[in-house]
Each structure stands twice: as C-alpha cells, then as structure tokens.
Amino acid sequence: MGHSLQPKSWQRTLLGTATSLAIASGGILGFAGSASAQEDTFKVGLVTFLSGGASGPFGVPAAQAAETVIKAINEGTLPAPYNTKGINGLQLESVVIDEAGGPTKQVEEYRNLVQRQNVDAVIGYISSGDCLAVSPVAEELKTFTIAFDCGTPRLFPELESPKYFFRTGLDATADNVGAAHYLKETRPDITRVAGIQQNYAWGQDSWNDFQLSMKQLMPGAEFVDNQTPQIFQGSYGTEISALQTNRPEIIHSSMWGGDMEAFVAQANVRGLLDQATALLTTGESGFNRFKGQAPDGTILGGRGPFGAFMPDNDLSEWFSKAYEAQHGVPPSYPSSKMAQALLALKYAADNSGAEGKPSDEQLASTLKSATFESVSGTVRMALADGHQALQPMYYGEYYYSSETGPELRNIRSYSGACVSPPDGHDAQEWIKSGFPQADCN
C-alpha cells in the first residue's frame, strides 16, 4: 500500500496529449463529415436498435434486411419492377445509427445525419416516442424520411400537414381491431378475456384499442384482468399466477421480442396456456423461434402482411430466400417491414422523373398516395393524406411439429379499410362509435 495514489507526472502529460489529440481529431472529423456527399451515390441513414432489448428481435433483423436489400438494389438483382441497378441509377450507400438513448438523443442524431453527414433520406425508428420526436424535425429540415416500424396512432394526427414524413406500415390500432375481428370470427363463444402488456405506451395503447374493439364486436366478453409487467422484466411468474386466479379463456398480449417469447414459455410450463389461448399481436417474430414452446392453436399476428404472413409473390419469394441465404433464418416481420421501406424509397426515386439525384420534394411527391409493389403485396399509401400505408391485417394460428417445423393455419385477413380509421378520425373515437365507414368485406 506504500505507493502514492496520485498519478505520476508522465501519466498526466500523456493523458493531456491524448485529450488534446482526441478533441483535435474530433474537429477534423467534423469537417470531413460535413464535406458534401458524392453525386453518384444516394446516401440513406438507417436508424434502428443495435443495443438494448429491442435490438435482438427487431433492430438487428431490420438492419440485416437492409443489408440484403441494399446489396440487391445496387447489383440490380431484385425482381421486377425493381430490377434496375441502384435507385434512379444511383448507388445506395447507408449509414447505420443506433436508435437507443431516447427521443432527445434521436433528435440530435437525426440532425447529425441530415446536417453533418448529409444523408439524402432517412429510414428508421422502431420506437413510437422516437417517431413522434423526429417527425417534426424531418419536416423542419425538409428531409425525406420513412418510418418503417413504429406503431403509434398519434403520429399523423399530431403532425400538421406532413410533406416529407411517411410511414410504410400500419399503426397499432389495426393490430388490435384485427385481433378483435379474428376472435369474433373464430371464437364467438368466449366470455372471459384477460391481458398482459408491457408497462409503457405501446402496451397501454394496445390494450385500450383491443378493449374498445371487443366492446363493439363481442359485447358479451368480460375483461377479467390486465397485467402490466415492466418492459424487459423477463420473468412473469407472479403475473401468470394472477392471470390463473382469474381464469381467462383468451389472453391478449402486445408484448414483443424476448419478453413475449419468455412469457409464452413460462405460461406454457405453468399450464396457463392449457387453460387459455394466447393472442399475441406481435407473435410472428417468434414464429421460427418458439419450437415446441408455444402450444398449438396460439394466435399470432405480424403487424400486417409481414414475415410468415407475407403473401406469395416474386418479391416476397426472393426476399425470403435471399435473407435466409445471407443470415441463416427466415425473415420475421421487422425484416419485411424494413425491406418494404427500402422498396418504397426505390419506387419513389425511380419514378421521381429526376435527372440524377432526386430532391426531397420529388421523392415526397412521388411516394405520396402512391401504389407500389412490395414483399407484402401491393401497398397503397392511402392513409394520412397519402403518407401512411393502408394494408390488410393478418392473424393465424400457430402449429408446430418437429418434422415439418412451424406453420400457420386458419389465417384470416382483414382489409385495410376494415381495421384502420379513415383520415380525420381519432382512432379511439372511431372504434367507440362503431367503426364508421369501415369496409370489412
């Protein structure tokens, strides 16, 4: 213990030098970064979770899908109508950023992407909070931006007359309205319904929408319990007991990723899933991972026609094969959604009529109200004044055998006009007033 705890002078000098160097090189990088992007490439910023609990099930599969699709776009190996090289002839270059850290940090990173790295467009955002925070900034900076996954119904109602911000997926309302329709069609006799949701906005919104829809569609059903464990809690023993004491027939859950898989495995072992059927609105991301852990008959959703719910067409067939060849597993819904957003970008660029690099205005006006082909079939940008995709919602039942692997049975689809509120309607009011103008045939 004899020696001094104070750093020696040479150590201080060394660190002083190192600090100065670090600051200096930071400055140089800053200038290097602000040099304008090359003219023959189109630079897109990709923002998705690379750390934390959402990275495994969503962020990384999405980033991997982007890798696969961007490679194919640049090589021109996509099926028609996307079989041209690049986007509008430009090579696509990507910058990947971690979405972790909360909305304030994401606003900062978004500005860095646009203003320092000079990306031409941004695709990203799994978290609804990030979408809400970034969308006004995208409008302010006039940058073409596609939200590929976030599900909050508040996004467009809170964004006044959007011009540059798009969402190529459905919002969470559709998931839960669709879920209620599926129950009504396949299990008209159930009376006791319970829920378990992660304790944050997504879980609360999902349960609200689901409850309201059930009151409209199956007024006889009673809500016996709703558990709200914390996100990433991992262990649900107590919640499962509480659900068991309430004896539900259906357990609705909007939990996602590892939480959802862990809940299913634990509830299965505890026998809860013998007593009740689970309805998992994001269950598709576990489709290839449950193995025998989810009982046959568990109801899965995929947030639209994504992942295992992708319809058969050239694009989805190509995508499934290319993705599996490159990453070893079939694509789940976050992968499909990322692919769809990139295809939307390619569509908008190819059809912008621009010479060389399309401007943000050209991209935005081309994608607005457009109809394009995607891995999920034909996508119509028909909601939110042409800024959000209108797509059908799918649900199906999970069956597994160790010989043939997992499969979906009893799949039902509900048209976009059936599960999404028309423009100008608040989602919850729309459900409460009995789905006016919904077209469910």
Binding site: S51, V60, G234, S241, A262, V269
Partner: protein, 299 residues
C-alpha cells in the same frame, strides 16, 4: 383466500430470486465498500454462459437433466469468477483508496464495457434455454400452478444463503472478513492481507452474480440489456435490508418480494412504484436500512 396463497407463493419465489441477485452485491459492499454497478453485467454474463452451454448441450443430442444443471451452474460460476478476477486485478485494484462514490462510477464504466463485450461475444439474438425449466414441470393447486423449476430456485437460494452464512460466521476466512468489515485499518495493522481478501471477495461476489444469472437463464430469454434491468432492483433490495448484511439482503428480498406480489395480485397498476416505495419508506424510518449500521466519525 386463493389470492393470499398466491401472493405468499409468488412473493417467496420472487424473493428467492432477488436474494440470489442481491447476495453478491451485498457481500462485495460489506467487505470492500464498493457498490458494484457491474453486478448486473455479471448476472447477464452468467445468464449467457448458462443459456449458450445448455443450448449447445441439447442441440448436440444431450438429454440428461443433471448434466444440463451441472453445465448451467458450472459455466456460470467459472465465467463469473474469471470476469471478477479480471475486473478486480485489472481495474479495481488500481483504484483502491479512492472515494466510495468514485468507485461506483468505476463500476459503471465496467458495466458499459461489459454490455458491449457481451454483445460482441453473443450477438443480439435472444438465447433460449428453456429445457431445464420445462423438464421440471409444475405442481398444480386447483387453478394455480407453481413451476418445479421455481421451487428449485428457492432451494438454490436457501443453500447459497446458508453457505454464505457458514462461510462468514463459522470459518477462519469469514472471521478475517468480518474483522475487515468491522475495521479495515485495524485488521490491516494486525497483518491481514487485505488485498488478497479483496480479490477473493470480489471473485466470490462476481460468481454469485453469475450464478443468479445462470439459474435465471432457463426462465427468461437472454437478450442484451437484462443486466441493466436487474441492477436497480438489486440495489433497492440491498439498501432496504442494509448494505453489507446477508441477513438484511434476505429480509429485504422477502419484503420487496411479498410487496410486489401483493401489488400484482391486487393492484397491478402500482407494480412500477412498489420497489421504490418500499425502499423509500424503509429509509425514512431506518436511514441505514433494516440491518445497516451507521458508522460514526472518530473524533
């Protein structure tokens, strides 16, 4: 009545898990006065080690449950102890004598580093090692059921607690450690090799964190970030019980476990607050936690 039984059982199950997670934290604090924020990362490390070894074993045709358990515990302990040794020898050793709170930040830095290292080693895809959990089945009580695995975790927790107690109260090393806890300077003056004791304590504490993770792995899906989630909970338990006290950790775990179970069964909306509410109210009445002792300044 059903609910009361459920609260007791669930509370006990959760408490046993809390105790496993908190034991290493409180041992390290008691002896070294380091509140180890990287404890959660050691937990995650243990979970990854156990999940990947069990996954490997079953993927290669293994079907012996006891081998799976041996792998689970063995891999977790070994990797936790190695990580603990590297952390103590490589980093903490350079910092001894610094402020207690500065040490907290040092371990925070270790947490950040470990989180990314684990991501580099294991990727971000969730690991699932459900086989041991599924294999132990369940016990049914009417509509209620309890998983056999969770009962086993209660057992593990009791055994770990008993071993720790015996080690601290009945062995020579334990006596030395208690003398360090009581007065470090005096023990040092009496010829105790405090540094060696520190290394040993940290390795054991790290191993305990990893065991907690190892036994949790079959229940949950092991993903990046699980370590960060458990730290605050473990801290709350340890502070409630009184830092550095094994008995305190056990009682703190029971209180928090039962309070949480009661809230989930009766008022699920309050679950988010319950741990902090318990900690704050205990500290208001017992500023050093239930079994903590105030240290007076020598004048």
């Amino acid at each position: 009545m059903l609910t009361i039984w459920a609260i007791l059982i669930d509370g006990l199950i959760y408490a046993s898990w809390l105790f496993l997670v908190a034991a290493g934290l409180t041992v390290i604090y008691g002896v070294m006065r380091i509140l180890n924020m990287a404890h959660g990362s050691l937990y995650a490390l243990g979970a990854y080690a156990s999940a990947s070894s069990i996954g490997w074993y079953y993927a290669n045709g293994g079907d012996q449950l006891w081998i799976a358990f041996a792998l689970l515990a063995g891999c977790a302990i070994v990797i936790g102890a190695i990580a603990g040794l590297i952390m103590e020898r490589g980093v903490l050793r350079l910092m001894y004598g610094r402020d207690e709170v500065l040490m907290l930040i040092v371990t925070f830095a270790l947490l950040l580093i470990l989180e990314d290292l684990m991501k580099l080693a294991w990727g971000t895809t969730p690991y699932f090692a459900y086989q041991p959990y599924a294999a132990l089945g369940r016990f049914n009580f009417g509509v209620l059921s309890v998983s056999g695995y969770q009962i086993m975790v209660i057992g593990v927790s009791v055994v770990v607690g008993a071993i720790l107690w015996f080690w601290l109260e009945r062995t020579r090393t334990g006596k030395i450690l208690r003398s360090i806890i009581h007065d470090r300077e005096v023990s040092e003056a009496m010829g105790v090799n405090v540094r060696r004791m520190f290394t040993m304590t940290f390795v054991i504490g790290a191993g305990l964190g990893a065991i907690a993770g190892g036994f949790t792995a079959p229940i949950i899906s092991v993903v990046p970030g699980i370590g960060v989630e458990v730290i605050v909970v473990a801290f709350a338990v340890v502070v409630t019980g009184g830092l550095g006290s094994i008995t305190g950790a056990a009682i703190g775990a029971l209180i928090v476990g039962l309070a949480r179970a009661a809230s989930i069964h009766t008022m699920p909306q309050l679950e988010l607050f319950i741990i902090y509410a318990v900690m704050a109210s205990v500290l208001i009445f017992r500023p050093n936690g239930l079994f903590g002792q105030a240290t007076a300044r020598k004048i």
